[in-house]
Symmetry: C2
Subunit: 333 residues, 2 copies
């Protein structure tokens, strides 16, 4: 249904004339030097270990702007609430949205609230939009890229060149596996928590070093989908090394139990960065200095020697990493 | 529940530091000279005489930006779709969104689509966000206001002064009464249709004349709510004259049948403008030249002689126009 929808939606409503429009299907659109994004959130349950729908929404929107290299300047939030929703729960979600926005230092400027009769939505949905602009960090990053022979404007998915180093800002699969474990009742004995967090400051730290050519947050479809999109849109292969991929033991354990590849599930507080080789070590250090980046790792590189995404496995072989078909864990974002 | 929500939401998530923030509860927020708005739409049924949820969403967002005096530059749309929704209906809604956006000349730059299991939403919800900037029309309007001794930046709800003339861009109550008649089965024998339409060009035409100090679209709570908000936020009374209020006969007939005051129901293609007296006639003519403004009328004025909103009735009396308590017609926007 998703592909069908995407086609239906794009065919009729795209009238894009900005710098990065709907057709690009990038993290955000850019028009008139304003980065603009929107995301609807329907996670079930509304609260889960490590987060809730409010924190998820704020983080997701900030990260979509940050993944373009922009600095977010404001958020807008639209709530659709089912009549009879527990007001204490609603209150906790609101507190959580405010806390996540404060953590990021970004105001929620405008909002809308609709209450619908029972059955109109399941509990509540939170749709957040955000705007951002090129900040000092991106301007500096552009200069450093230029020093290394690269013309980088926004950190779009199309910017990878042969040899660019791929970093991930932390452990893989935490959000999707935490939610699924919780739903299935496997989560209670572990400390498995969602990673949902705003990453604008982490990204600004990376760009303050400079040399970042592209960034993308591996949400729906996980790392596997994210890397495939980068490879496809940049017309270049990607090689990653399984031994370098950071995983929490609890995620590996639960994934095995649930029969799910953690590369295929959504992360909500992670960023994949592509960096020119000369600056990759320094950028990795900068990312690690951020609390949400302490487990950051260098996981591979863009490579014209392969097609698609190829992983050197722990046991010495190689396998193709395909994007997942459909969503292995529905309603996690 | 609404007041409760508004309090709950505002208390925690407002971290506004823009020019017009969440606390102002104006049509849109303004930060960094960018006008920014969001609106969630849950209308039932999804298609109705004269429109559908897609046209409603696009029009509503464009009008919230236009009501600030800004020129919209881009829209974003987030769809939450119930699994199994009729794809032909979805297709028609998408076509309709595209058509409304083209009518307004504004691109839908970015979007998000989530499919949820049956019962997750009722059919679909459409949340739209929009950004706008001060265009040439607003800059000209600011100058003309200044010539008449008025410092007007954005067309906020706080700008009314004693003697400002109030115009409405067309007939009152069409959207709410059309939807309710249709739902109740009374609509079939009339040509009663929703007025949902984007009004950015109409507003630009009015500002090209100049002297517009405030604008607001009378959506939820209708004209009664809109005028009361203007009066309250501007700390001035409002006098209107019932004989000048434009109504379609079909709206009056259906309102009587349904026992609903059409001043209390939402309009989705109308604007109330406050204009300095010297320019009111000319602005009215400009609004009437626009296809969506042909029934525009001058309906009253801001007045320090009264408190709240007072209407001179047809029969020669006077009555206070109170804002409606709750929504007389739920789920129409």
């Amino acid at each position: 249904m998703h592909t069908l929808l995407k086609k239906a939606v794009l065919r009729h409503i795209s009238t894009g004339k900005g710098e990065v429009g709907l057709e690009a299907l990038d993290d955000s659109a850019v028009i008139d030097d304003i980065v603009f994004t929107i995301d609807g959130h329907t996670v079930q349950p509304l609260e889960y270990p490590g987060g809730d729908i409010g924190r998820l929404a704020v983080s997701g929107t900030i990260n979509d702007i940050s993944a373009m290299g922009a600095s977010p300047i404001a958020l807008a939030s639209s709530l659709i609430i089912e009549e009879g929703l527990d007001l204490d729960l609603l209150d906790r979600v609101m507190v959580s949205m405010g806390k996540a926005a404060n953590e990021a230092g970004i105001p929620i400027m405008t909002g809308d609230t609709k209450v619908v009769e029972r059955g109109g939505v399941k509990g509540m949905t939170v749709t957040t939009a955000g705007i951002g602009r090129a900040g000092n960090a991106l301007l500096h990053n552009r200069n450093v890229c230029k020093e290394h022979g690269r013309e980088v404007h926004w950190l779009t998915d199309t910017n990878l060149h042969d040899g660019d180093i791929l970093l991930i800002s932390g452990t893989i699969g935490d959000h999707g596996i935490a939610i699924l474990s919780f739903r299935e009742g496997y989560g209670f004995e572990t400390d498995l928590e969602s990673d949902n967090a705003p990453l604008n400051k982490l990204m600004e730290g990376a760009m303050d070093v400079g040399g970042v050519v592209s960034a993308k947050d591996p949400t729906r479809g996980g790392v596997a989908n994210c890397l495939n999109e980068l490879a496809e849109k940049s017309h270049i292969g990607i090689e990653i090394d399984e031994t370098t991929l950071p995983f929490k033991d609890a995620v590996l354990g639960a994934s095995e139990l649930l029969g799910i590849d953690p590369l295929n599930v959504g992360n909500e507080g992670k960023m994949i960065l592509a960096v020119v080789p000369q600056k990759a070590g320094e950028v990795l250090e900068a990312v690690r200095r951020h609390p949400n980046g302490k487990d950051a790792a260098s996981i591979g590189k863009a490579s014209s020697r392969v097609k698609g995404v190829v992983m050197a496995t722990k046991v010495g072989g190689r396998r193709i990493v395909e994007p997942p078909i459909g969503d292995p864990v529905p309603r996690i974002c």
